[in-house]
Amino acid sequence: MSVFPKGDFYTRHFQPSGKEETLVVNMGPQHPSTHGVLRIIVELDGEYILRCEPVLGYVHRMHEKMGENRSWVQYWPNTGRVDYLHALAWNWAYAGAVEKLAGIEVPERAEYIRVITCELNRVSSHLLWWGAYLLDLGAFTPIMYAFDDREEIMDMLQMPTGSRLTYCYYRFGGVSADLSDEFLKRLSRFIPYLRSRLPMYRDLVTENVILRKRVEDVGHIDEDMCRRYGCTGPVVRGAGVAYDVRKAEPYSVYDRFDFRIPTYPEADAFARYMVRMDEIEESLKIIEQAIATIPDGPYLSKSAPKPKWSAPKGEACFAVEGARGKITYYVASDGGRTPYRVKLRSPSYCNLSCFAEAAKGVILADAVSILGSLDLVIPEIDR
């Protein structure tokens, strides 16, 4: 007998429930449908899942602790790496929290630039989710079309931000570069183009009977469950609750735009699917209004902090609506060079926690479908 006990902490504490003929399987950390290093220990009875337990921490990068060790400005690149698919929302949450703490004014043009780029990033995130989700369901082709459209968005966002995935574009009191005329021109060409693609996606994919059978009536996450686990974003909107931070506690200039919060009361995977597909259209609507009314002016406030700046004493909390739900940054300062405390509230973490309950008693293939419909980004869960 070995000195070291068999298995790790989690497998030792996840023993078969005593029933015969059950199988304890590790789904992940290397599994094609967990999209990263998420590990789910599953107890299977044939094809049915008796119970399951997500295990986290494989890509823990200590974003909160890092915040306490670097200066306010040095922390910027970290924000783009929490959720690499909707990096600008995390940028915005950090900017918003510090601006609130220090009372920094943001020029109006900068607010519009933030809205345009953040919504564009949301569209790209939803497109990627759409492709990856269908890949989970066994359809290989849609992800290629999604990447095709997303490529255009990344090319555009590359112009002002200089990067393609982990953006670090926003600054305290504005953004780091102005939107060029070329960007705006290209963007106004792109919106009708993507609108013309969406009906094709609906006809070919959403209306497909096999897809419908795979997502309808699967993975019920209702209002009560969302409340208990703190689910936000498309998960709660798919449960019929019209909760969107952009409307519930409007920040920036979102109150000037006319857009709808798509909700579906079915509370299944298909409802969450439809919420995201509708959100792409709503985001396009917001971008369209923003480019029509974007004012001239500076893109960075005159009083924007210099690199060695540190925030005044105090604390602040700021929430934005990310592609996956409510993103909150809490920052506390004791007036020193580094933040005293940085706390990140990531929506994927809360959305994942309801998985164990939602996946109880379903078929293995449905668990994959539920996991995909939550739109998890693993680095965001582990922070």
Binding site: L137, G138, F140, I210
Partner: protein, 333 residues
């Protein structure tokens, strides 16, 4: 294959002829299957590329035509890993069991008027009997590899193949009933050259059922559940490396050709065509069906396991039975 020949009083007159025919035929079929798998993998990847708006294989050779050969060389050169805890003998027996019977299934297929290996009264039965080996190989592979994912894949493979064999059989039987023969050559010859003279015109439902079941039997998407990669990583062949995986791959493509050949012979008039009947018509129809199979794979999502079985037991099986009964009644009248 006339059985009476085998029991003829003087075996030296008839047997060498048959033997030569079999050996030459099997060699030709081995070459055909090997070459065809190479071509089909390339075609599949090009079709996938076309559907997904990308060029597909492009680098090795002009338009990437040497890509499959490069892949095959890579597979042959790879180390064969036997996982710890697995049953080594059964583990390596499985891909061979999966691959060898496929050759036998090619024997009674009538490629042309005179291009065939054996003409047998029970050709259809021969193909269906040897098709049963496929599921044995998947079951062995999943069981022997001592992997939980492999085991689930094997269990799925058994449930799926056993279930779908029944409506497939019933659909084929309906055609055999209407021709009063299980000889593929006779069935082909009774059909005419034009599409409305083919069996698909008289037995459209049987053709539909046959094709759906053929997709399931060959584990092609949307019924590729035994190897559903997003659920079971790779299902029954999770643990196979190098040519172990390569043989499963080869067997899948060879099986695709078999089911499409059978569909061509049974439903699409075989080598008969509007003009100049010959093997070219047969190959044209086979490749047409293969393209449809590829098209479906790159278009549809995968069905769920219970839906797959429900489709079989609640829809295809009763429909196939009704179709068979209707055929029998129509023949009687």
């Amino acid at each position: 294959m006339n059985i009476s020949n085998w029991t003829a009083p003087d075996p030296f007159v008839t047997t060498p002829d048959m033997l030569i025919r079999l050996v030459v035929g099997l060699l030709a079929l081995a070459a055909f299957v090997g070459a065809n798998a190479t071509i089909l993998v390339y075609v599949e990847r090009k079709v996938a590329g076309f559907i997904q708006r990308r060029p597909g294989p492009f680098e090795v050779g002009p338009q990437g035509i040497l890509q499959t050969i490069a892949d095959a060389a890579k597979l042959i050169g790879k180390q064969l890993v036997t996982p710890r805890g697995s049953d080594g003998f059964l583990f390596w027996l499985a891909p061979i069991v999966g691959f060898l019977p496929v050759f036998v299934m090619f024997l009674p297929i009538p490629w042309g008027e005179s291009t065939y290996v054996v003409q047998s009264d029970v050709g259809v039965l021969l193909i269906l009997a040897f098709a049963g080996f496929g599921v044995l190989s998947l079951c062995l592979a999943g069981w022997a590899s001592a992997s939980k994912w492999g085991l689930i894949g094997a269990a799925r493979a058994v449930a799926q193949s056993v279930g779908y064999e029944i409506p497939l059989l019933l659909a084929v039987l309906a055609v055999c009933f209407s021709h009063g023969s299980m000889d593929l050559m006779a069935i082909v010859k009774e059909q005419g050259g034009w599409p409305w003279q083919w069996n698909v015109a008289t037995q459209p439902l049987a053709f539909f059922i046959y094709f759906v079941c053929a997709l399931a039997e060959t584990n092609r998407a949307p019924f590729d559940l035994p190897e559903a990669e997003s659920e079971l990583t790779a299902g029954f062949h999770t643990e196979y490396s190098g040519m172990g995986f390569g043989l499963f791959f080869l067997a899948e493509y060879a099986n695709m050709i078999v089911v499409c050949s059978m569909a061509t012979a049974l439903f699409l008039g075989g080598f008969q065509g509007p003009a100049a009947p010959g093997p070219w018509w047969f190959l044209l129809k086979v490749y047409g069906l293969l393209l449809v199979m590829m098209w479906m794979r790159w278009t549809y999502p995968r069905v769920r396991f219970d839906q797959l079985l429900n489709l079989n037991w609640k829809w295809l099986l009763p429909l196939a039975t009704l179709n068979l009964l209707a055929t029998a009644v129509a023949l009687k009248l």
